[in-house]
């Protein structure tokens, strides 16, 4: 029996996206994009503005459906599934513009993430049957652990809208992690953070990976963070993957430099020489 390489990847890779494309009207946002992730990797997705990075996140999490191509996660075919089902499969994400539940407390924000793991139903909840208390106690304990891990203990009872910006980012990551996902997509986790907070974030992401054995795919514009943190980097321009490799390879890749700095720069350099 002969199996093609893609068939093998579908079965054995933690995550595998095969030739996904998406266009909005005439704009080809993503073209023939392939992505494979091994369990426990930290992978960076970089590219200039409008390169299609967030569209790829939306395609993976089911917020948009790809025009062509297919996505496999843990051997399951997840293309065209609605977002909540993909979340059930174990993919969680954060958003570029933070989407917290502003009028709920920090603790409740994290408890919402346990939605997939609730073992009681409407009847238990309406009449406060024992199953309700058992499950609630369990998820409150788990949520408090995350709150401590992310240094939010002092703010646990505050409303999410009262948090400073850095802590809001942390809370969103904590919430994504609390869904007990095995693949976490972070959309610009360091945007708007000061250098100290960014450093903390790098440590925290590494800690999360080691402690919970999750795979992390992140979009980021902060090159220092990407180079420090990621084991593999994928560069995107105009919806196409133009390079992929280790941070060192990416740094010296001429195609990447061209995408970021433009060809003018090289001409200028040549003229100088």
């Amino acid at each position: 029996m002969n199996k093609s390489v893609t068939d093998i990847k579908k079965e054995f890779k933690h995550f595998f996206a095969e030739k996904i494309s998406k266009s909005f009207g005439g704009l080809k946002a993503v073209q023939n994009f392939e992505l494979e992730l091994d369990s426990g990797e930290i992978v960076g997705l970089i590219g200039p503005n409008g390169a299609g990075k967030t569209t790829i996140f939306n395609l993976i999490t089911g917020m948009e459906t790809p025009d062509t191509g297919s996505i496999y996660f843990n051997r399951e075919y997840i293309t065209n599934l609605p977002p909540h089902k993909i979340s059930h499969c174990g993919i969680a994400r954060t958003f570029q513009n933070i989407r917290l539940l502003e009028h709920l407390t920090v603790l409740d924000n994290i408890k919402v993430a346990y939605h997939n793991h609730i073992k009681y139903n409407l009847l238990h909840a309406s009449f406060r049957l024992p199953a309700f208390f058992r499950t609630e106690r369990e998820i409150t304990e788990k949520s408090m652990q995350f709150i401590e891990l992310f240094n939010l203990n002092k703010n646990a009872a505050e409303l999410a809208s009262a948090l400073p910006y850095g802590k809001r980012r942390m809370l969103e990551i904590a919430r994504a992690l609390a869904t007990e996902a095995t693949l976490i997509l972070l959309d610009e986790p360091a945007a708007g953070l000061n250098p100290n907070e960014t450093e903390e974030l790098v440590k925290l992401i590494k800690l999360i990976r080691d402690k919970f054995h999750v795979t992390i795919l992140l979009i980021e514009h902060d090159m220092k963070l990407v180079m420090n943190l990621c084991e593999r980097i994928i560069v995107l321009n105009f919806g196409k993957m133009i390079a992929q490799g280790t941070p060192l390879e990416i740094k010296n890749n001429p195609a990447v430099i061209e995408a970021y700095l433009g060809t003018e720069n090289r001409k200028y350099k040549n003229a100088e020489n």
Binding site: G62, P82, S87, R99, L101, V112, S126, E136, I139
Partner: protein, 315 residues
């Protein structure tokens, strides 16, 4: 003012409080503007009325009320399910208009449908513009129960049902289901990313809200012993919504307070022979409310929690 008059007023306030609490589930907690709550109120009242006419079991006496209430809740919940599937795909203003339309459809259907009179009114038809009038059980039908009256929903009964409704709603709000509802209100995209099936939970919220609206309808029928489509107009829906907004979107305690305030006002006005100024006062009250407390009296908080918070900020 006599006791009987007062009992009537407070019973009606209790029924409206149940309506306001149930509407708050969909409007306040789940954040979907619903302008057709009177439709479910009407369905509940009619379901209770028809059940009483066709299937009252005299031996059960007072417990017939529970059969009526269960039937009213089931009918309203099924209607909400059927209406919810097409409606809840809409957002914001469009949803409000669609539910308003369905509320009117229910009322106009009830205006035009007639039902056979059953064993209580063997020769006539009931329904239509006169609705269901059901003053007393005919004595020749049940000679064993000579002074039998069907006005089961007295003030204490209504208050107990209100309390039970409030406790259930509050329990749902502070559970994972309530958190899912609030998550849908805050951010649908984040809710989906958390694994919440938003269309399913919207329909669930709509059904819970409608079921308790129907429950209020059953109590209304067993209190007044007469319903007609005229009492379930759009104004009725808007009045319920006003109670919810006044008390605070998302606060069940607030809804009860809102129902009491808006329920007592007309009586106060008529006591001073100034009934015609009621509407003007309503409008002024709304303007003042929106200026001073746009979130309503209690915001999203329930009463004991709210008091605790106040104390904390005062210190």
């Amino acid at each position: 003012m006599s006791w009987i008059e007062l009992e009537g007023i407070f019973s009606l306030i209790g029924i409206y409080a149940i309506l306001a609490v149930s509407l708050n589930m969909i409007c306040g907690v789940t954040g979907l503007l619903q302008l057709g709550h009177a439709g479910f109120f009407a369905l509940g009242a009619y379901a209770a009325g028809l059940i009483s006419i066709y299937w009252t079991i005299p031996e059960l006496g007072f417990f017939n009320l529970f059969i009526s209430m269960a039937a009213a809740m089931i009918v309203a919940a099924i209607a909400a399910f059927l209406i919810g599937i097409p409606c809840l795909r809409l957002k914001g203003d469009y949803l409000a208009i669609a539910t308003l339309g369905f509320g009117e459809i229910i009322r106009l259907s009830l205006l035009n449908i007639t039902f056979p009179g059953g064993k209580m009114f063997p020769e006539e038809e009931i329904g239509g513009s006169l609705g269901i009038n059901f003053t007393e059980f005919p004595e020749d039908l049940w000679p064993k129960f000579p002074d039998y009256s069907a006005q089961y929903a007295s003030l204490p009964v209504i208050l107990i049902v209100l309390l039970v409704t409030y406790v259930i709603m509050r329990n749902i709000k502070f559970s994972s289901i309530g958190r899912a509802f609030m998550c849908i209100k805050e951010d649908e995209i984040a809710a989906q990313a958390m694994g919440i099936n938003i269309s399913r939970f919207k329909i669930l919220s709509f059904m819970i809200s409608a079921a308790f609206g129907g429950l209020a309808g059953a109590l209304f029928f067993h209190k007044e012993l007469a319903v007609s489509p005229g009492s379930f107009t759009l104004m009725c829906s808007i009045e319920i919504l006003l109670m919810v907004v006044l008390g605070g979107l998302g606060s069940f305690t607030g809804s009860i307070i809102g129902a009491v305030i808006l329920g007592v006002l007309p009586t106060v006005f008529s006591y001073f022979h100034a009934g015609e100024y009621k509407q003007i006062f309503y409008a002024f009250m709304l303007i003042i409310l929106i200026r001073i407390a746009p979130d309503g009296i209690l915001g999203m908080n329930e009463l004991p929690v709210f008091l605790k918070k106040r104390r904390k900020t005062n210190e």
